[in-house]
């Protein structure tokens, strides 16, 4: 497929130039022209007042694809503990499987027979389980090789995993090997009613805008999904399913995990379990500003978090970062102070129950997701709020 400008219809109004996020439209002899930078996002189609821009289908677009069958969730375990995001994906995967009229399966490397049953209780109809010791500890090559082998044999149409260090490291290898499309860090998944393609929604351009990605031909459709953005399915202790034993015969590795060392970063764990989070951004202005946040956090019994801007400024360590490249959190109360609200940040906190935004710029995008918005100077508002709550608690 490609995008074409009908030069006879083009009036040279340049409306399409602004609409293109890729700078792929140029004016040539007073008419718009699509350059090779075009990513087929179709943003320009609707803005042309003359209807001069259209998509042109090519033979390859009409080619039938062997869709495959089944929705798979790679269930990540570390030290025998199944990752929360894997259970969330079983919840989301169930919805996708129902829409497609297909089955939901989990893939488990390492772990015990009971872990496999647990995945069934969380919604999997089938579990492909390999308990070979080679796979008990995460290692890219054997994980990628065995999952690729299973996919080639079974031909699932969708394969999902959590956007964790593990999923983000070995899924790309699988996608490269299978010539499959892989979308990173999705925050939402849908099925296109007409084509049955998986629509993978993720923040793009540093997180300032959302993009819907799809794979028109390649199968399986693969995606990593942010933790804590999907809801877990229903746990049913009596649910029965099939466990398929998978052999790791012939799987080798050129890397060896010598040791795994735990460093309990308390704040990192606190953040994801916190009921109340006080977060600061560039608007806090520096260390002194963050001191105000710590005081507010103390009276609320909250954890302190930050946007990428504040972390990049060096005002607070990386482990406090919330957002696309930091942690995803979902507290009861999230107080965003001096945070403008780039999507990069929003995707990490917008599932919070109540969001309070304090920012001096009334146009700041953070107000778009806020439950309560206060336009004002954080250096005035935050200490006032701290004092008020302190008084209230006596």
């Amino acid at each position: 497929m490609y995008i074409k400008v009908n030069k006879d219809l083009c009036s040279g109004c340049e409306a399409c130039l602004q609409s293109c996020p890729y700078d792929a439209i140029v004016m040539k002899d007073g008419k718009a022209e699509i350059t090779e930078l075009c990513q087929l996002c179709r943003a320009c189609l609707s803005v042309c007042p003359e209807g001069a821009i259209s998509e042109v289908k090519e033979a390859a677009d009409l080619k039938e694809t062997d869709q495959g069958k089944g929705v798979w969730v790679f269930a990540e375990q570390r030290d025998g503990k199944i990752a929360g995001v894997s259970l969330e994906l079983l919840g989301a995967g169930k919805g996708l499987a129902e829409k497609l009229g297909t089955e939901l399966a989990a893939v488990l490397f390492g772990g015990t027979a009971d872990d496999a049953q647990e995945l069934i209780r969380w919604g999997a109809e089938k579990v492909f389980h390999c308990n070979d010791p080679l796979l008990s500890t995460f290692n890219d090559e054997p994980y990628a090789s065995l999952l690729s082998k299973l996919i080639v044999e079974q031909k699932p149409e969708i394969v999902l995993t959590g956007a964790t260090p593990i999923g983000r490291s070995f899924f790309p290898r699988v996608a490269a090997r299978l010539r499959a499309g892989l979308t990173a860090d999705c925050t939402s998944l849908e099925i296109d009613n007409e084509t049955k393609n998986l629509l993978q929604i993720r923040p793009a351009f540093g997180g300032n805008i959302m993009a819907t990605i799809f794979c028109p031909h390649a199968r399986p459709q693969m995606a990593t999904v942010r933790p804590r953005v999907m809801k877990k399915g229903e746990y049913d202790a009596s649910r029965k399913g099939e466990v398929v034993a998978v052999s790791a015969k012939g799987i080798t590795s050129r890397t060896r995990v010598v040791e795994t060392v735990k460093e309990i970063a308390e704040t990192a764990i606190n953040l994801q379990d916190a009921n109340v989070i006080v977060a600061g951004g560039r608007g806090m202005g520096g260390d002194k500003g963050f001191q105000l946040l710590r005081e507010l956090a103390e009276v609320l019994g909250a954890s302190v978090a930050a946007s990428r801007a504040a972390v990049d400024e060096g005002w607070i360590p990386y482990r406090h970062q919330v957002g696309q490249t930091g942690k995803t959190v979902g507290p009861k109360l999230y107080i965003a102070c001096g945070i403008s609200g780039a999507v990069q940040h929003l995707v990490g906190m917008q599932s919070s129950d109540i969001i309070i935004a304090i920012n001096k710029n009334p146009e700041a995008p953070i107000f778009r997701v806020a439950t309560y918005g206060i336009v004002g100077d954080v250096h005035e508002i935050v200490p006032l709020l701290t004092k008020k709550i302190k008084d209230l608690k006596g």
Partner: protein
């Protein structure tokens, strides 16, 4: 040791703004830089060269303007720079990008390949591991420390959510690095002068003997269907009045919701 560092030219701020009226990106006047993670990868490459000897090649795929990023890398101390540029590369997703880079690296020759963990514009973290797969070599992600490196042995620490893993391997290998690995050096004045005059080697699709069906938009399994601005909440309340009054209202609301 033959060291290849893959870099990407990105907009300086990851926080490129959106025009709220037209929902389009405002990119005018945003300068470009080397992706910050890639600068740490380059520093790691230079440190490995200092230890084992050898050559550091920086490689990027992009439009002719990406030459600026390569010159910055040369100024930091890279020995040579290669720009992969060809109209057929345009529209590449991570799969096609990694395929193209892997073909170029095979052409250049490498024992250790270094990449940043991810680029700050796309944030996918996919290209590094995919290059390794195309080249059929192992990769190790999120390197926070290189404990030992030589032509026949490599020991590194991989950063994980709950700590780190110590991993052993041997070249050829691809590593993706995180920021805590090192503190990148500043380019020297002499380096800057030399970089200005240095020759940038250019490679096209024909030079790397790539299959054109695997390049650019044509070779990309994923496509962008549409882009849109995130939705606004409908039930939000903007609090009015003086600062005192706003806080009073807020605290009352929060008490009502049993948040405090």
């Amino acid at each position: 040791m033959r060291i290849v560092v893959c870099i990407k030219q990105v907009p300086d701020s990851a926080e490129v703004r959106i025009n709220p009226e037209t929902n389009t990106l405002i990119r005018d006047g945003v300068p470009t830089i080397i992706n910050p993670y890639d600068v740490h990868a380059l520093e790691a490459g230079l440190q490995i060269r200092e230890k084992t000897g050898g050559k550091v090649t920086v490689l990027t795929m992009g439009p002719p303007q990406a030459e600026t990023a390569l010159r910055e890398a040369l100024a930091m101390g890279a020995d040579e720079a290669v720009l992969l540029t060809d109209r057929t590369f345009a529209g590449s997703d991570t799969w096609a990008t990694a395929y193209t880079l892997s073909k170029a690296i095979e052409h250049i020759g490498a024992d250790v390949i270094l990449c940043g963990k991810q680029a700050i514009d796309g944030d996918t973290a996919q290209v590094g591991p995919e290059i390794a797969e195309f080249m059929d070599i192992p990769h190790i992600s999120y390197i926070r420390k290189i404990v030992d490196v030589s032509i026949d042995r490599l020991v590194v620490q991989r950063l994980m959510d709950d700590g780190f893993d110590v991993i052993e391997s041997s070249p050829p290998v691809l590593l993706t690095v995180v920021r805590e690995l090192n503190v990148p050096r500043m380019p020297s004045l002499k380096g800057k002068m030399a970089a200005k005059k240095a020759e940038i080697k250019k490679m096209s699709a024909a030079d790397i003997k790539a299959d054109e069906n695997d390049l650019g938009l044509k070779g990309s399994p994923t496509q962008v269907r549409n882009i849109f601005a995130p939705e606004a909440k409908t039930d939000r309340k903007m609090l009015e009045g003086t600062a005192e009054e706003k806080i009073d209202t807020l605290v009352k609301e929060l008490v009502g919701l049993k948040c405090i």
